[in-house]
Point group: C2
Chain length 260, copies 2
Amino acid sequence: MSVPGMRRRRGPRRALTDDEILDAALDLLDEGGPDAASVRGIAARVGVAPNAVYTYFPDKAAVIKGLAERLLGGVDHDVFADRERPWRERVEALALELRAHLSAHPGAVPLMIGGPMDGPHALALNERLLQLLVDAGLDATEAAQASYLLIVYVFGSIALEVADVHRAGPLPSEPERVATRLVAFSAIPTGGFPRSAEAAATMAGYVSTEQYLWGLRRILDGIAARVATAGDVTERAAGPDGLQPAELWGQPGPPGAHPA
Amino acid sequence: MSVPGMRRRRGPRRALTDDEILDAALDLLDEGGPDAASVRGIAARVGVAPNAVYTYFPDKAAVIKGLAERLLGGVDHDVFADRERPWRERVEALALELRAHLSAHPGAVPLMIGGPMDGPHALALNERLLQLLVDAGLDATEAAQASYLLIVYVFGSIALEVADVHRAGPLPSEPERVATRLVAFSAIPTGGFPRSAEAAATMAGYVSTEQYLWGLRRILDGIAARVATAGDVTERAAGPDGLQPAELWGQPGPPGAHPA
DNA sequence: ACAACATTTGTACGATGTACAGCAAGGGTT
DNA sequence: AACCCTTGCTGTACATCGTACAAATGTTGT
């Protein structure tokens, strides 16, 4: 990403750009994990003194924020933009695209979920998702709720996956990740936890993408039921994941809600 | 990890306990946010030199890990232990209990999701959840998938909520949080994002707990569909563990029919 | 009383984020 | 062409962080 050997001359006039700094930060995160993006390291990588960074960003938090925006801005909107396709497919495409994009930079993930994601690219993505859900037949309120649910799932699962893994360098390949997960599980005194051990064992056949999609489809099933409730039957979930709405409408909440 | 009754006073003047250190760390996090738990701060709070902490924990990461375990160990298992209640209610109770427990210490949340949660208390919780789902009628594999989905949702939503908020001190009350969320939304150039603006507006009537439960219930709907189809003809995967739908919702019978 | 030992402290080192003051190299004006 | 003023970078400095090392301190078993 960054060009090596480029010498910077002393002087004013635009030696750096914001993007060069963000590139350097991202490179460092990819190589050394979440703690590797120090201001000094970034500056050294682009070939300037540490405090030169503060010409472009007010503080380190701003760099992180810029990085988050940059990552979100890199997701391919075309993947789920086709309004002719069923909405579930479109959401799945979006979820997979986001996961692929963020998993490529695991070191950056903890940093970006550490702060609010309210930049223009984040909002644009949210806007797309909301529109998609409205297209699917949800009213505005439920579309908002559903988008929140989906966002939580996508970012939450990536965050947990990244947290589980050795936090330096790029994410290992999926088979490797499954293996280390199993190692981690078996290294634990699972003696008293038979079901956890069993889960770890059966998990071997379900690599992470499968699991990700399984959870996502359960969520889509739940949302689809609300679509049906709204009276819009233009799209009914079909196939192996098909469901019969009558069977999954939940009952009202349990008595004894929890006090704050 | 420290058992009451076994007093370890073998050293010189004053011997600390792991719990005293964790208490101090948690207090600092509650007061000053995720960055407030410095080793020096913790040591000062318990009244020792900074490096005295390293007698009890090998490094700071171990303190964080101990803290995560301590928090997870504090969740009340009785809330969802009653196997006579419908499984959905039990899951909701667990989810609410976890959320209430973790939201009380927002500063600790980013730290605990930053690393793997594989301590004994975390495993015990996972074990309980898996058992609960198996009781509900899921086979071992799908119980594992479903528990992962639920865990991602619970921790992910708490993490995102915490990230949205000012990262110091205890989480504001829910009305305040909604207000600041709206402020944050309106402070953003939502001009180009009509649906996001609309979502922010309609969100006012749906405080965070409502939203949390809405998403959780969509997930439960999706999982319930798997329970219902577990013994179905279309999906022969059930095999020897196949259960009859009648037993799946517990003794009370199909959803909506069980008595309070 | 003595020795073994567990615990705490003093000191120190390297790394981090960032504030402050100055210096160099344009562009704009004359 | 000579000025200066703005812009961008550097040098230096400080507080704070995690933590390693050895010395000091007190407790306990013999």
